[in-house]
Every structure is written in structure tokens, then in C-alpha cells.
Assembly symmetry: C2
Homo-oligomer: 326 residues x 2
């Protein structure tokens, strides 16, 4: 469910009066997405997405996200382009929330990942990293390695109720990850998406019938961090089967396509296993926190944190970059 804030007709019309988008034709809530309220908006000018930014997003960071999307779209990345009102501003206010209209992107996100998705994904990720290279303003990763210890502390009281011994296992795993984590001056840094899960990547069929990436969405975890960490997030999000096994065919397709556009340095290749462990830890901890902090009756789908414990264990056992598909 991704409509947390209802927008009255009057408020919507007043809001749209500041844009040059023509007659309002339709306005429907979108089920996808968990952080913000998203509406499909149709006007005489076409299809758009209206987003109301909810509590998890810091309003002071919204200009950075919107500027990054505008920068990337201007360089040919298929990502939502913030639409400016007649006064030139894209970030506005609606129903008491910060709000923005972005262009609608065609395409479908893959409900079931196939190996054919992973090469175009790898190429799109590399293009994203290259296009972000001249976006100068930095945004620290609020869910990077420095955040994991404090997050684990907040899960300590309830963690073992999810699985006995979980907290001790995470203490040890986190210590190992942080000890092996590469310094930010040893690997290439840049603008990363940091949350490129299948529901954030749209595909359309190409002329040859194979899927092509038509768009990347939901940049509200984007930040300035190790580029290879973004790959590690994708390996976590795209390369495991439903039964928990790692699909090295998908991983190889993703990595090879990425490297055709941006070859990884020796240091990046060597760091990939620990980056994958870190990415597994990041999603494990945020899911675990949501799991322990969400009241049982809340209208929120809680995602299983233990899925990422299994991924963390896989990456901890992996014997070097080659076993990950490099």
C-alpha cells in the first residue's frame, strides 16, 4: 500500500494551477512503493507520477534527489524527470507534505527475475555511475557502514525473538565486515542508487524480443558512496533464487555487462565479497528494525529479515570474487 496521504480534489487543482500541464484527466493511487505516497496523474500533457514525500524522507534532502534525477535524465538515463512549475521550481507542497511531479516512465518491473534481465541491469547500473560522475554535490549514505552498529543496537532488545542467537551472530558478522571494509579513498566513489531492487527497474522488450531497461526509479536512497557497493546491492537483490541459492549465471551476466562499460579495478574486484556482506547486513538490519519496531496490527507489509541472514551467510562463505560471478 503506497497511499498514506489522501489529496482532496480542491487541493490537487490548486496544486496543478501552478503547472502548465493542461486539463486534469485522471488521478489514481499506485500500489507499489513503501516509503512515499505515489499517484498516477494524467493530464492533457500526458502521464506523470505525483509523489508526496512521507516521514522517512528528510525534506532538506529532497533538492539533492531531484537535482540528481534532473542531472541523470539530462545525460540520457531513463529516470523520472522532475517537472517544474511555471515558477521554475519542482519541489512544492501538497496536503501538508513536500511533493513533486515527475515524468512517467514506460516499462514493467520484473515480478520474477530471469537471467536475461541481469545483463541490461548491469549495463544500466554502469551508465548510471558514469552519468553521475560530474554531479558534484555529495550526499553521505545514511544507511552505510557507520549506521549499521547503531541500527543493530536498536534491534538488540527484540532481535533474538525473531531467531534465537541472531543478535550474537550479527555482532560477529558486523565486526568482520567493518574490519574488512575498504577505505573510501581506495575505491572509486560516486553517486549510487543504493536500492536498485527489481521493483525499481523497468524493462521493455527490445527489437530482438530481449528485455531492455526502460527506466530506473525511486532515487530516495541515492547517495555518494563506493560505486562497487551499488553492484553489491544488486547482487543481493537480483541474484538469489526463491530457495535462497545464489544464481551465478545472473551474477555473471550483471557483472560482465557492467564491466563492458566500466571495468572494475583490482581493488574493487577484491572488495566485492565484503561489499556484498555489507549490503546483506544493511537490508537485514533495516528489515529487522522494521520487524521489531512495527506493531503487529500495523497496515504495513513487514519484509522477512531472515532472507538477508541467509544471503549474509552465503557471502560470508563465498571463496573470493570468482565464486560471485566475477
Amino acid at each position: 500500500m503506497a497511499v498514506y496521504t489522501e489529496v482532496t480534489d480542491e487541493a490537487l487543482r490548486a496544486f496543478l494551477a501552478d503547472y502548465a500541464l493542461g486539463e486534469l484527466l485522471a488521478f489514481r493511487g499506485i500500489a507499489e512503493g513503501v516509503e512515499n505516497s505515489n499517484y498516477a496523474l494524467k493530464t492533457a500533457a500526458g502521464d506523470f507520477i505525483l509523489t508526496l514525500y512521507e516521514k522517512r524522507v528528510d525534506p532538506r534532502e529532497l533538492p539533492w534527489f531531484l537535482a540528481l534525477m534532473e542531472h541523470l535524465a539530462a545525460r540520457g538515463i531513463g529516470c523520472p524527470l522532475p517537472v517544474k512549475a511555471t515558477d521554475g521550481l519542482a519541489l512544492r507542497s501538497l496536503a501538508g507534505r513536500p511533493a513533486a511531479i515527475c515524468t512517467f516512465l514506460p516499462g514493467l518491473w520484473p515480478r520474477r527475475v530471469r537471467p536475461e534481465h541481469c545483463a541490461p541491469l548491469g549495463g544500466a547500473l554502469a551508465r548510471l555511475h558514469l552519468a553521475g560522475a560530474d554531479f558534484a554535490e555529495m550526499r553521505p549514505n545514511g544507511l552505510g557502514p557507520e549506521a549499521w552498529g547503531p541500527l543493530l543496537e536498536r534491534c538488540r532488545p527484540g532481535g533474538d525473538a525473531v531467531q534465537p542467537g541472531l543478535v550474537a551472530e550479527l555482532d560477529a558478522a558486523l565486526a568482520g565486515i567493518l574490519a574488512a571494509w575498504p577505505a573510501t579513498d581506495t575505491l572509486p566513489l560516486g553517486q549510487i542508487h543504493a536500492d536498485l531492487f527489481p521493483d525499481n527497474v523497468f524493462f521493455l522488450d527490445g527489437a530482438d524480443g530481449r528485455p531492455c531497461v526502460s527506466g530506473l526509479i525511486d532515487f530516495y536512497f541515492a547517495c555518494t558512496d563506493l560505486l562497487a557497493y551499488d553492484i553489491a546491492v544488486c547482487l543481493n537483490a537480483w541474484c538469489f533464487e526463491a530457495d535462497g541459492s545464489y544464481n551465478v549465471t545472473r551474477a555473471h551476466a550483471l557483472l560482465a555487462a557492467y564491466q563492458r562499460l566500466r571495468p572494475l579495478s583490482a581493488a574493487e574486484r577484491a572488495a566485492l565479497p565484503v561489499l556484498c556482506r555489507g549490503a546483506a547486513m544493511r537490508f537485514l538490519l533495516t528489515r529487522l528494525y522494521d520487524w521489531t519496531a512495527t506493531p503487529a496490527g500495523a497496515l504495513v507489509t513487514r519484509k522477512d529479515p531472515l532472507e538477508y541472514l541467509r544471503k549474509l551467510r552465503f557471502f560470508a562463505r563465498a571463496e573470493g570474487p570468482a565464486s560471485l560471478g566475477l
Copy 2:
């Protein structure tokens, strides 16, 4: 949340291969609706809604609903038109569910009802009733007066936990309603929508800036019943303020616009108060049943049954049709 069934890309493509809708361009879950899974579907041929029928809908009744929509659309009613596949059939199967594609209707449902919505609503309801007059096949109202006693029985164990004394009050109110209920041969019978709440009615601005009805959706409670009962449902759904007071201006606008196209008979006018009590009872009982039967942790928004207790009490106190806006 109105996506209960996830559809894989492969299943969707196989499903669409039976239609002549051109290239698949987008497929997004829609947040609105509570009974079925609804997706916004965009193809080279335009915008459509794909509905997967979930448990509450009896698959054997779907042909009736789809035939009614086709009948009404052919008579100029703005309602979803079932799209036929190349074999001529609109009702198909997808992801283990009955499924159908319908045309997309432009317009917005009013998040906040204003008196200006009620005259166009009354006109649209009358046109719906007139257009259904030559749709011969009948479908009994599964949530009509015969269903209310059994429904109240199922709420008996848990009802008083919602409000002390509630079950006894409903026993007395239901006996009064059933004793005064008009026989079906005394009032005009026809095809009614039976669930015409604001989220099922789309509006667009007319040339004069006033709202016009652009579409009626969600015909899956439609049935053959007293036409005036459909008006009673609308008076319940559209004519109360958030504070529980009855807005007679809205009701008068609705009823006057309806009667310009289909004047009510003396018997219908006399029956309107008890029909309103019955409609309040119907929504009270289904909400009460959902309230008492839904586990506290379920991912379903439970609607407050007591809102309809207040409406029931209002209609029980109402002194004749004039006090309702007739």
C-alpha cells in the same frame, strides 16, 4: 491495498498474446479498490484496467457483470467496457484467477464530496437505471433484505464487543425495517449498482467548470433490485458530513436531478425512508461482520461499522420523505 495477486511478466505476456492490444508499455498496481486486484495497463492501443477477481466474487457471476457493463456502455453509460480477446471472450484466466481487461475511464473520484457533485450523480444514477431497463437477465441481490438476518446472526457473538447493546439495537431495527420493507412488485425493479460510493464515481470538469460524471466503476455488487434502493444507497454514501450530520442540500440536488430523468412514483417516495434505513443496515452489517471476523493483524483496512449505526439512527428518526430532501 488492492493488489492481492502478483502477476509475473511471463504470465502477463502469455495472457496478452490472446488480445490485439499491441506492445505492452506499462503495468502498475492500483491502490484503490478492496475486493479485487487491479492493475493499470498501458499498451500501444491505450490505457486499460486489468482486474483479477479475488475470493469474494463468485466466478459464475462474472459473465453477468461483464454483460451488464457491455450493455450499459453500448447505451452511452460511461462505465468500463470489457475488452474481448481475439476469440471474442472477455472473461479469461490469469495467475489462477478469473481476469478481464476493461477500458480505462478518465476522471477523478471525489475525496471530499461537495454539493456540486450530487446533481450530476443523481443524473448519472437515473441514466444508469434507464439504460439497464432492457437488460433482461436478473441477478438477485445477495446482500438484500433476506441476507441481513443471517448476517446479523454471524455478528451476534462479537457484536456487543464493538459497542455494548449493539446487537439488541440491530435486532429491533432490523425487525422494523423488514416489517416495513416494500414488496418487490409494488416498486419499479431493475438493474442497480448497489455500491455507488464516491470512490466508484469519476468526475471531470465540464465546460462551465462544474463537475460532470465521466464514469461509474466497480459493478461487482450490481444486481436486480428496487431502483429506489440504489438511491437510498447513494443518500447513505454521499449525503452525510464527516460529523455525521445529514446534508439535505446534497440530498435534494441528487434527488431532483434523478427525478428530472426518472420521476419517482408515489410508492417509491413513500418507501424512501425505509429503503434508507435498509441501506444503512446493509453497510453496517457487512462492516460489522468484517470488523468482528478480521484478525487484528490482517493487512486490510477495516471500516468503522458505527458510522452506519449513526446513519441508521438518523433515518429511523427522519420524519417522512421531505426531511430526506425529496
